[in-house]
Amino acid sequence: MAKTRRKAARRPARRAKSKRLPGWFRPAALAVACTTIALGWISAGWVVSLDRVVRARFEGQRFRVPSRVYSAPTILYPGLDWKLVDLEGSLRRLGYRRVKGTRSLESGQYVWGDNRVRLFVHAFDHPSRPEPARDVVLRLSGRSIEEIRQLPSGREIWALPLEPEQIGAYYGPDREQRELVTLDEVPPVLVDAVLAVEDQRFETHSGIDPRRIAGAMLANLRAGAVRQGGSTLTQQLVKNFFLTPERTLKRKTQEAVMALLVEARYEKPEILQAYLNEIYLGQRGATAIHGVGEAARVFYGKPVRELSTAESALIAAIIQSPNGLSPYRDADGAVQRRDLVLDLMKRQGRIDDAAWKAARAEPLRLAAVTADPGDARYFLDLLRRQLSAVYTPEVLTSEGLRVYSTLDRRAQRLGAIALREGLADLEKRFPHLATEDPSRSLQGCMVVMRPQTGEILALVGGRDYRVSQFDRCTQARRQTGSVFKPFVYIAALEPKRGRPLLTLASFVDDTPLEVKTPSGPWEPRNFDRKFHGRVPVREALERSFNVATARLGQQVGIGRVIEVARRLGITSRLPEVPSLVLGTAEVSPMEITRAYATLASGGVRPEVQAIEDLVDGVGNTLERRRLRFERVIDAGTAFLATSMLEGVAERGTAAGVRSTGLRGPVAGKTGTTDGEHDLWFVGYTPELVAAVWLGFDEPRSLGVPSSVGALPIWRRFVKDFTGGTVRGVFRRPADVERVEIEPSTGALALAGCPERRAELFLAGTLPDHTCPAGGRGLAEAHGDDSPGVRSRFFDWLRRQM
């Protein structure tokens, strides 16, 4: 009863209260509550989705880092011709800076004196062949490096590798270039400089800095324009990582929320490191420079850890407007802005007075702008094709692999110049070769290889990469013409079950020949439309007689010629037809180069190499090259072939090789295909082999022989690369004998023989007949009834001696 009374007493009071509120209040309150809850849910969902975005980026792969490709290093050693290797040019391209005075050098600086160069070599990071930064002095004597000593110890250095030069990179669609650095590698002074100018309360704020925002608003109001940003470093990172640069309220809100999320989830050092790697610092050509690591390389040519206070301040200074404040565009403006940063650092107590003074006094010393590596782009494409067999394009463009290649930067540059200028010269001399349309112009390619190892030193796949990316040295297959002929002679010179078909004292027939083929008779003709009768085998190759070679091919067998070509390294299809011996098969210049490399290395065929090793983004070696060789021709036969090809370069179709004074051993062969559609010259020295091909992509006659078209390009390259004197000798193996013969008969010249010249023979293949005995056997000349026995005995005796 009492309970009922109490309830009744309360009811009038509540009624009284509801009477005081308007009628709409209840539904309005409900609506507000519902809206708030809904907005809360939506906001929470939005924040959660932003958080997911933040985590995905921060915990996944944060940066796309292009893979970089490097050349082989330049190695300095006593005796090296420093002018020939363009030492100062190499230093400049590597970002070394020439300074005056010799008291103390910093890494990356050099002093060039009259007969000495003092150089502080950069450190080179590599998992298996790191090189320390070191102060060295090179004593010069004329064009030669006399000695290299380390300072201050004075220890002699036998060989000093400079770090490899970057020749290119594999970018993603954004073409961002970035060298990732850890916070440990970044000098504290650079961090201070960045914080001083971009976010001085970074350590204490939680993603957004109200004081900075207020200050920026005030400054902008005073200026009547947007002069100052209020974003913290975290906000800038968020903006670059996740958002577009538009200035809308929605974007700014997103930025602020994401900045708070980033700060809530991650530690300050982690955020700072991400910022230092992400920040945009300008353009280099079509490539965007991101991060302080890359900027240190581009601006100063050194690793970030070696930046000075002034250099750090300059990088921090240009963050606000990387292109407008670029030191390459406006050096004075950049220095002024740098000094402002230094002042700020001093004011904030980040540097002391002495450091401030020293940094302000430091002149701007920028690394030289390195030339666009465009001339190595065919090589880069070749590497990409090779690498893509193992690595996806995504990996290649984003995981920061370092590809150390075999490319010789100097050979590449000289090869590109020789080809470009050689083609231009040819068009000038023969105007019918010039075309208006660059995409249809006369083309060419050049490949240079180290014969003993198969390393590609240079690859110029075409006239202009910008016009055509088709690599004519590795992707094209063209008729080879006479550069195929040496394979025929090798097949004939090579002993197979006893005596070979030919020796270098033999003669071949250059008389009319008709070969029956399923498609009718084949009658080869010589270039000069004449027949030359019985000619010495050397002359047949030196003058590139087609008929003699075709007949020899018939004698030795086309199958055997193909087998020799295969052994030497030709992999393209070789049709078993009589005309094959004159080079009608289509083969790539790279294959031909390898085949000639096998001859240059004494019959040992190398595997073609373009990569030394491959290192991943964190410094693990993924792959190491493996030099591979196989003896495919005996050294003696290879030497005889080389000797014949030396004759081609001395007296034959390639005699022009010496016309500009190139000295030293050179062997090679010209090749001009039917209708002069393709011009070739493949030549070698003991240490390099190079092939030049010229022609139109849609074959048409050039109307000039290869000795006029391809050979001068080869000659220019080799002369420039070697300095005019080729090193080394083609050494005669022990099983090759040098004896005198009577030239007109090929008989062994004895005392009394009126004419004689030296000739080379494989052991056991000396001529049976002698001069003056007039072509009869040696034993017969001595009245012996069994000529072969005595001949063989002397043969054997010579071998033992």
Binding site: I75, R626, R631, Q800
Partner: protein, 175 residues
């Protein structure tokens, strides 16, 4: 009066005898039981005034030193640089062959030996003191690859028990 042919005929006999004696002694020395005086060491190879070869040889010696200290990657890198400077230097390929045998890569070792052999022959530097190492390394590589090689190792040990007695060529022995 004896004519020239007669004089030549008279000389032929003694010449043949002398030649036979010389040839057989050479054969005995090089092929049957000759023991090289001292196996070759790369630090003692003369570069013959060639700066390129000198630098390459010194890098090769540095590589051997690194191999001695167990710095295999460094050693390899020195050998590769030595080849870059002078690709015709047979001693580097010989050192690389030794390095590969020790690294358990017998097939690679055999390929390097092939190149070393080719270049040594071309240079006329294939003396018994060098051939000893080629034989020994080939034996060691073949044995490591499970393809015999015992005969070669035995021969190398006979020719130089001090170096090849234990069936291997250390970096310091080659240096």
């Amino acid at each position: 009066m004896k004519g020239k042919p007669a004089r030549r005929a008279a000389l032929t006999g003694p010449l043949v005898v002398v030649s036979l004696v010389l040839a057989s002694s050479l054969g005995c020395a090089t092929r049957i039981g000759y023991r090289p005086a001292e196996p070759v060491r790369i630090s003692e190879v003369s570069p013959a005034g060639d700066a390129v070869r000198r630098a390459s040889l010194r890098l090769c010696v540095e590589g051997l030193r690194a191999d001695e200290d167990g710095r295999s990657a460094r050693a390899r890198s020195q050998y590769e640089r030595a080849i870059q400077i002078d690709p015709t230097n047979p001693w580097v390929y010989l050192s690389l062959a030794r390095h590969e045998v020790e690294s358990g890569e017998p097939d690679r070792a055999l390929e390097y030996l092939q190149q070393a052999d080719s270049l040594l022959r071309a240079e006329g530097a294939l003396s018994p003191e060098v051939e000893l190492h080629l034989i020994g390394l080939r034996g060691a590589a073949l044995q490591a690859g499970g393809r015999g090689g015992g005969g070669d190792l035995e021969r190398a040990a006979q020719l130089s028990p001090e170096v090849w007695g234990d069936g291997r060529l250390t970096a310091s022995e080659l240096r």
